[in-house]
């Protein structure tokens, strides 16, 4: 309430012309200054409450949980350090999940960035239809990841899905394809889904980057007789590096935290061959009801991601300077 009252009386003292006329620090002005601070605090208060209650507090809590025995339901909550961490690393699925997540991240990142760059170059220049293509490529990005996964789950279905038939009629395969049946095909099928879903999104980021490159640079290179390949290699790619680095950061972080697509498409199967790290956390917490170990796993993931992000941010900054 005080803030409101101050707001009503304060304004005349704060206008710039008045400041120019009376540059000395009068008591009235100092009082205004503090009220301005108070008002800033008041406007930021909802953000502060949100960040404290739903971000800082949970972070502290997950730290505490990772060091305690914390069953899902009530029970003994004694200190359990460092067993949770040891349990996490001991889990038979831990290293396979880490390996699988890394492999998946590598595949998705390589394919997704290459395709996104191709799409961005395709729709970059004005041509009849370029706007239409841009919209079409972006359309899957408007879908949710869970919806897209459910869509592809039907698409890949051996009974109702059309893909197997299409491949057969094209003569590419002889027998019906089981897209999610073997570990390799399940991985590749998921990568295809993710590329379809996100390529347009990354295309848009790269498009912004491309449009920030001044036209004169290309023209000068063309005048000097550079070929298209040379222009792409020595101008487009280097000048696009900040945008590419941002895509890389988003893509790597997103893939390392993959969950929805595997939860819906493969449920980790066949034979636990597609269990990702986040799925492991979910299983530990809500199927094996072991929140302490799940918290320890989450902390490990958090630390790895933080390190990775720091490294990538350095790369980003260096790319920005060059």
């Amino acid at each position: 309430m005080q803030v409101k009252a101050a707001a009503r009386t304060a304004p005349p003292h704060r206008s710039p012309p008045e400041r120019r006329i009376r540059p000395r620090r009068t008591p009235a002005r100092r009082w205004t200054w503090t009220s301005r601070k108070a008002q800033g605090l008041a406007y930021a208060a909802p953000t502060a409450v949100f960040v404290t209650v739903f971000f800082v507090l949970p972070l502290l809590l997950v730290g505490q949980m990772s060091l305690s025995d914390w069953p899902l339901l009530t029970g003994d909550r004694g200190v359990n350090a460092p067993e949770n961490y040891a349990d996490a690393a001991d889990s038979t699925l831990f290293w396979p999940a880490v390996r699988f997540t890394l492999l998946y991240t590598l595949l998705v990142t390589a394919v997704l960035l290459a395709l996104a760059l191709l799409l961005a170059l395709l729709v970059q220049e004005f041509r009849p239809g370029a706007g239409f293509f841009r919209t079409v490529y972006f359309l899957p990005s408007a879908l949710g990841l869970a919806s897209a996964s459910l869509l592809f789950w039907g698409l890949y279905s051996p009974t109702t899905g059309p893909l197997s038939g299409i491949l057969e009629s094209l003569g590419l395969v002889d027998d019906p394809v089981s897209f999610l049946g073997t570990s390799t095909s399940a991985l590749l099928s998921t990568v295809f889904l993710i590329v379809w879903k996100f390529a347009g999104f990354y295309m848009l980021i790269l498009l912004v980057g491309l449009q920030r490159i001044p036209h004169e640079v290309f023209e000068a290179a063309r005048m000097d007789g550079a070929s298209r390949g040379q222009i792409f290699r020595s101008i487009t790619l280097p000048l696009l590096r900040p945008s590419l680095a941002l895509c890389l950061l988003l893509c790597v972080t997103g893939s390392l935290l993959a969950f929805d697509q595997f939860f819906i498409l493969t449920k980790g199967g066949p034979d636990n061959s597609t269990v990702t790290v986040v799925q492991l956390i979910y299983r530990e917490a809500f199927q094996r009801l072991n929140l302490g170990t799940a918290a320890a796993l989450s902390i490990i993931v958090l630390v790895v991601l933080l390190l990775l992000n720091v490294l990538q941010f350095r790369g980003l900054r260096r790319a920005d300077e060059s």
């Binding site: 304004p11 459910l150 917490a285 790319a319």
Partner: protein, 273 residues
């Protein structure tokens, strides 16, 4: 550049071929949702049988649509409210802890979803917000804050200070200046933030999966994912495809309507490297 490397016809072959690949799953899904499949409500021919299954599934489609709408509306309202005030504070005021708070808000982006959801599950239980749509919305709004606050800060910073100062001279308080002068000026930013928040809340799967235990309170994505295991383990592809259509249509429509704002959000530097 690539377009010049490719001639006119090859360009349209490549771009068009890719467009077909990108459109095919969407078109197929819409078609399959009205097509017949043995063992489902739509045994053969074409019709809305799959949608009828969806309508009657468990708590009913309307219930899930209502849940999703409530969660999305609450998330959008919370995100807009908090980031509007926060963006104003960060852009125009100096107060103790300003930089720390801004950094902490951005740090939400750095922490994996799963790392936060486990303690949030425990915390919401203590706040008696477990298994509630309000609790879910609060969590979803928190995940929107980094982008929303950043976006609103930029929006406010792009408004000339003189505009606000003239309002203050005319006797408005800062709240009055915000409402009468600044609000219209930052509307494009608000639309972008609202659109992002809606899409995120409408589509989110993992947060309700963990935070909502009652199927009466499930939002649509969770309900459709559960629906797959309907009728004694037998899979109902038709109803799932109908569910995907119901999930996707609002998103696609909103995106097509607000495309310009969405892309402007990117352009205005929200994604500066």
């Amino acid at each position: 550049m690539l377009t010049r490397a490719l001639g006119r016809t090859p360009y349209y072959v490549v771009a068009g071929g890719l467009a077909v690949i990108f459109l095919f799953p969407l078109v197929w899904n819409a078609w399959a949702s009205v097509s017949g499949q043995p063992g489902t409500a739509q045994e053969s021919g074409h019709g809305l049988g799959n949608y009828r299954t969806l309508l009657d599934y468990d708590a009913g489609l309307w219930r899930y649509l209502l849940n999703s709408t409530v969660v999305s509306a609450l998330t959008v309202a919370l995100t807009l409210g908090v980031s509007l005030l926060g963006g104003y504070a960060f852009a125009r005021f100096d107060f103790p802890g300003k930089n720390l708070l801004f950094l902490l808000t951005l740090a939400i982006l750095m922490v994996p979803y799963a790392t936060l959801l486990i303690p949030l599950y425990v915390l919401l239980g203590r706040l008696h917000l477990q298994n509630s749509l309000v609790g879910l919305s609060l969590v979803l709004a928190m995940f929107q804050l980094p982008f929303a606050t950043f976006m609103m800060r930029i929006s406010f910073e792009a408004v000339p200070r003189e505009l606000e100062e003239s309002a203050l001279v005319d006797g408005c308080g800062t709240a009055g200046a915000l409402r009468r002068v600044l609000l219209p000026a930052v509307r494009p930013g608000l639309i972008t933030v609202g659109l992002f928040a809606f899409l995120a809340a409408w589509n989110d799967f993992i947060a309700p999966l963990i935070l909502i235990s009652d199927s009466e309170k499930a939002p649509l994505p969770l309900a459709v994912a559960n629906l797959r295991q309907q009728s004694m383990g037998a899979v109902d592809y038709g109803a799932t495809e109908a569910g995907v259509v119901v999930l996707a249509v609002p998103c696609l429509l909103l995106f097509l309507l607000l495309q310009r704002h969405y892309i402007r959000g990117f352009m205005s530097g929200a994604l500066k490297g």
